[in-house]
């Protein structure tokens, strides 16, 4: 039993890390008042680009970086539409998902199902061969994700730039007269969320699967959207949510490995259902405490009546 638990616990971070990274990006974006449904598409583009770069002979870190930049590029298209041209954020977000999925399918056509060597786990490196299993299964990006979480939390909560960003999400008119450039803050926040969303996607292909297949994001982008809401836009709670979902997801392969028969569809559904239940309970307990950024999804125009 303890062997089973250990092997399960060792794989959880690998499932949780991409969710955490993408969700942190989304927190930044939505704290600036931009409702962003695009992660599914942004992650797809990141995953495809990262895989292509690594297959083209570059190192995994280059793959992750280029994947992140590709996610940012797509995200900026979304940003251009909603911030500069004031398009509807919900519709544009959905369109961005479609565009991201389409683009990744198109450019990744020839790369499908061709395994490659991605980022090694600690246990696979020369220096880490003697690490205990729980640590040996992890990789550098997981550490990066944890650092990122602390950094984002502190930056949003404590720094002056974070204060300005939150002001834009709470009351853009007030931020505007206080001298904050609302449009620029929102664009930067969208760019940051794209960067992290792309990185999360690239993690899935370059680090986790080390192969690219179409549709490999498999709804994780939507989980990220839900995660952020349920976590009340708090980075710490996002970690809890990501671990929860990652933990449930990691359970399936483990159960199969020890020979527990399980209908595969139920297994695939379980992480989603579990996360939903836990978060609904959590939400009921915090009862109506309104934590969403007050101006989330509202397009700001200085001349409007506020």
């Amino acid at each position: 039993m303890s062997g089973f638990l250990l092997s399960w616990a060792a794989t959880v971070p690998d499932y949780a890390a991409p969710l955490l990274i993408a969700a942190l990006g989304l927190v930044i974006c939505e704290k600036a008042g931009v409702l962003n449904l695009a992660p599914e598409g942004v992650m797809a583009v990141g995953a495809m680009t990262g895989a292509l770069v690594v297959m083209g002979g570059q190192g995994p870190w280059t793959g992750l970086a280029v994947g992140a930049l590709a996610g940012m590029a797509l995200s900026l298209c979304f940003g251009l539409a909603v911030v500069v041209f004031r398009a509807d954020q919900t519709l544009t977000g959905l369109a961005t998902v479609a565009a991201g999925l389409g683009l990744s399918g198109l450019f990744g056509r020839d790369a499908v199902q061709k395994p490659f060597t991605g980022l090694p786990r600690f246990g696979e490196t020369g220096w880490g061969a003697d690490l205990p299993r729980l640590l040996g299964q992890q990789n550098a990006v997981i550490v990066l994700a944890l650092v990122l979480m602390v950094a984002v939390g502190l930056w949003l909560g404590r720094s002056r730039a974070g204060l300005r960003l939150r002001a834009v999400g709470e009351d853009p008119a007030a931020a505007d007269v206080a001298g904050v450039n609302v449009q620029r803050v929102q664009l930067l926040a969208i760019a940051a969320s794209g960067l992290l969303g792309g990185l999360a996607g690239a993690y899935l292909s370059v680090v986790s699967a080390q192969v690219w297949v179409e549709g490999m994001i498999a709804g994780r982008g939507w989980i990220v959207v839900a995660l952020v809401i349920f976590a009340g836009w708090r980075p710490g709670m996002v970690l809890v949510g990501a671990l929860l979902f990652g933990g449930a997801e990691a359970l399936m392969p483990r159960l199969q490995a020890v020979g527990v028969a399980f209908p595969v569809y139920i297994g695939a559904m379980l992480p989603y259902a579990l996360t939903l239940v836990v978060f609904v309970v959590a939400m009921l307990r915090q009862r109506g405490a309104d934590v969403a950024p007050a101006a989330l999804g509202r397009v700001f125009l200085r001349q409007d009546r506020h």
Binding site: R164, A167, A175, A178, G179, A294
Partner: protein, 510 residues
Amino acid sequence: MTPSDTSGRGRAPALLMRDIDKAFDGHPALTGAGFRLEYGHVHALVGENGAGKSTIMNVATAVYAADAGEVIVDGYGTALRTPAEALSAGLGMVHQHFRLVGRFTVAENVALALGGAGQPCSLSEAARRVREKAAELDFRLDPHARVERLSIAEQQRAEVLRVLLLGARILILDEPTAVLTAAEARALLALVRRLADEGRAVALVTHKLHEVAGYCDRVTIMRQGRTVLAAAEVAGADLNDFARLAVGELPDTPRPAPVTPGAPLLEIENLSVRRGDGSAAVEGLSLSLRAGEILGIAGVGGNGQPELVDCLSGLSPAVAGTVRLAGQEATRAPVRRRRRAGLAVIPADRSDSALIGGLPLAQNLALTGVWRGAFGPFWWLNKARMRRAAETAITERDIRGGGVATPAGLLSGGNAQKLLLARELGPGARVIVAHSPSRGLDLRATRAVHDALRQAVREGAACLLISEDLEEIMTLSNRIAVMNHGRLSAPMPVAEASAQALGALMAGHA
């Protein structure tokens, strides 16, 4: 303030605006308007609702971009393109609707703006400066209090303080006293006077002419987007001339003849209401209101008035006591049954709890009638009938600034209130609960509101008038009671009520 800051006195005007045009979606709000403000002066800007007072001040601080005209600060004609640039040019504005982030603390709001002016500022530094400035101005203000938990007067103090901390030499206050009680307003105006005497320039938008007479050096009057009186001396002028210029000739309304009240329409016994946090808002309140009379409830704001209104309108429950509406027991009745019994409510915050800003005029007007089936059966809304009703209301009540399809949120304060009156004071209204119904309204609109209430009462309704404005209470009411800490004093006939007696009751030592 350093002497160099005051050296502007006697030189170029602090703020000079010429030939400003500004239109919103093709509707002109300003046509050739101007404004000239000197250092050392408190300069009143007066005019009816929708005259363009807020608009021209927003142009000055670059919140709105003018279509034509020039804005010159300190004699330099550099164009200000954003509110941030206006701030660093020394222009600070306290907006009619405060521009503070509600979920932030006072210190956070200050830090936000200070950072923007290029002066790095940590939270503890901001808190320290708030505390210092508050002491200097004789304010009570906790820098770590969340803005949304502060009273309106405190929020306003936070705004003033922030603008001053940013180093504003030209201060614009848009209807600062509309939301204050008389004592709070006096304190603010005294501060404004002091700031001007120290050498700053202050523009004060107001509807109250006694403020112009008591605290201002100059007055500019606007009407329908034009400046009709520019920077006139206040000393020695006749206030009635100003009133006439601002809103035109006002007919004298005769004092209403004493009425013989009819049957009791609203009977409240021992009513108690709690606030959201469990504290007592209204305690053991009893009153009886009869057809044909207006019962005025005076009192300093925050003594349970909004909670009483919410309870009577059915939005929050009573913890004890009974309410009878037009003879029917209604203590626990849902909103719909109260409305059917003839309850009409004019809440203090019309944009928050009475009108829906995004919906057109016609639909706002129909909101309550739809219940009664006035616009067709429940499965079919008769839009044509709604539009006709709205057209009638617009002409009858003289609602300006939009047609049946205009979103209510675009109306000026006075016109929004007329819209609300048109809806609430229809033929079915028997018990009218009105809370500060003329708050923020110009003289003419105030008169229209008062006339509408008198008219409704003459036609057999009863009115509970809750107001912090003693003058309003004294002119309208037949009987007057005072609310203090959730309790109501015994009502007295208006003939026996003096401002002193009421004032003593309001202060709680009588």
